[in-house]
């Protein structure tokens, strides 16, 4: 693992819970590792496999999807669907041994600023440990 490896992590955050949680982490001045770029979506269920694959294949070292806790979805059921889709994607990557650990699904509520910071930092650590994604440099992808 190189010292200067700064992973690129893409985080899809749902507007109502996780994005608010991230804001709270910010206003609580919690320190996070500067590797995660946040992309706001209205509901975690908007995140389809293509977006995740895009990020992953285009060289993201990690992808995080965060939404409201099950049952808390602002649109009632969205996160249940995304969980299924995610389970599918994870399984595909697992079967093909494509480093499924680079994908993570987390439920982060609006009040969980602390958790947001913890999740992001832990994920960043894990990814740093995994090292750069090889897709990043493969000219055939």
């Amino acid at each position: 693992m190189k010292q200067d490896f700064k992973p690129n992590i893409v985080g899809f955050l749902c507007n109502w819970c996780s994005y608010a949680g991230a804001d709270l982490a910010g206003s609580s001045k919690l320190e996070i590792k500067p590797y995660l770029s946040v992309i706001r979506v209205m509901c975690s269920s908007r995140v389809n496999s293509n977006l995740v694959l895009n990020a992953f294949l285009w060289g993201a070292d990690g992808v995080l999807i965060a939404g409201c806790h099950p049952g808390d979805c602002h649109y009632e059921k969205g996160n249940y669907y995304v969980r299924r889709r995610f389970a599918l994607l994870k399984k595909i990557l697992e079967t093909l041994d494509l480093e499924p650990d680079r994908l993570q699904l987390s439920w982060i509520s609006a009040s969980e600023g602390k958790r947001y910071a913890e999740v992001v930092n832990k994920f960043a650590e894990d990814i740093t440990r995994l090292g750069p994604s090889a897709f990043h440099t493969n000219p055939n992808i």
Binding site: C68, H69, D72, S109, S111, E112
Partner: protein, 424 residues
Amino acid sequence: MKNPNVLVIGSGVAGMEASLILGEAGQKVYLIEKESLIGGQTIKFEEVYPNMECATCMVAPKQQEILQNENIELFLLSEVEQVKGSVGEFKVKIKKKARYVSLVNCIGCGACYEPCPVSLENEFEEGLSKKKAIAVACPGALPNVPAIDPENCLRLNGKKKECQACKEACMFDAINFSEKDEILDLEVGAILIATGFGLLDAKNLPQYGYRKAKNVYTAMEFERLYAANGPTEGKLVLRDGETPKSIAIIHCVGRSEQGYCSGVCCMYSTKFSHFLKHKIPEAKICEFHTDLCIPGKSHQKFYQKILNQGVDFIRFDDIKVEEKNGKMQVIYKNGNGEKDKFIADMIILSPAMIPGGDTESLAKTIGISLDKKGFFSTQSEKLSPVATAVDGIFVAGCAEGPKDIPGSIAQAEAAAGKILSILR
């Protein structure tokens, strides 16, 4: 011509809901809140039964809407001083206390907390954490603007007149020590009281050992204790930093003294068990209850689920808490009249919901009556569950009696409905 404006007193879920409905209808709403933030009691909860939704996530969009709605004028740190007139033409005097921090200039960066030399007990956190004399109640409070506590601010209470640490730290010129309390005159067509509830002070019931035994908490304290934005950031620890291994939750604290069942304690106590079981799976948890009051179509299922998770539910007749050799024990008589005891590291009391602190004075100010239990009374004999005896004055939420959140919201919507119906 009736004045179309409405005065809403209290910005808890009921007050917010009613204000939003009235605001959406195009009515001008004056929303009066005695605290420095909006949201009432609900924002203190981490999650709510029976679906364990995150309360902040539920309420935050509503809070945002209140702050952004053009039809809603919000008065924080404010109380009603006088009400005159009748339906369609009430004249109201409001006392708005100085905040000393400008809601317009402050951007909520929090730079001013650090330098403040005063450290105080944080009431919002049930005294479980400290705050400064200039502070917001909790992270994520809305509006995200601190207030200065004039009684404790060294400059304002005169103890150190030259202190202006906060002002120096503020880059936005948001702090104004010379701000004064104001009296405002409002004219409204209808008034809605949504001042909420308080909890019976457990100190008044010595048998429960509150404030005597070390780790006895009230329900509200426990709510904050496990809140992700609370004093321990959701870490469940006792005052000495230990993780509790056996927990007793005692229902009906003050029920017989108050003479009514508060209707929600059984469920929220069960919710506590749910949370505890989740966080500390190996912990022994015991719920002490009398009659279980779990109406609502999904509540029994929830109770059953917790029961199946291995939480003990014990029906008691007589109960007290004692501390012996540093161990707390719950001594009780069970449903069959047999005596028994339970050793607990942590005891959570579920006290009765009582009228909010200033209910009596507010009733006097407005000129409406209270019922036997001290809540605002409605014309229930006329099947008007949100109307008071005075035309044009309504009551919603726990100001009318103990209630759960949906009950409060429904009442708020009902009151808004009645108001829209009479003001059109």
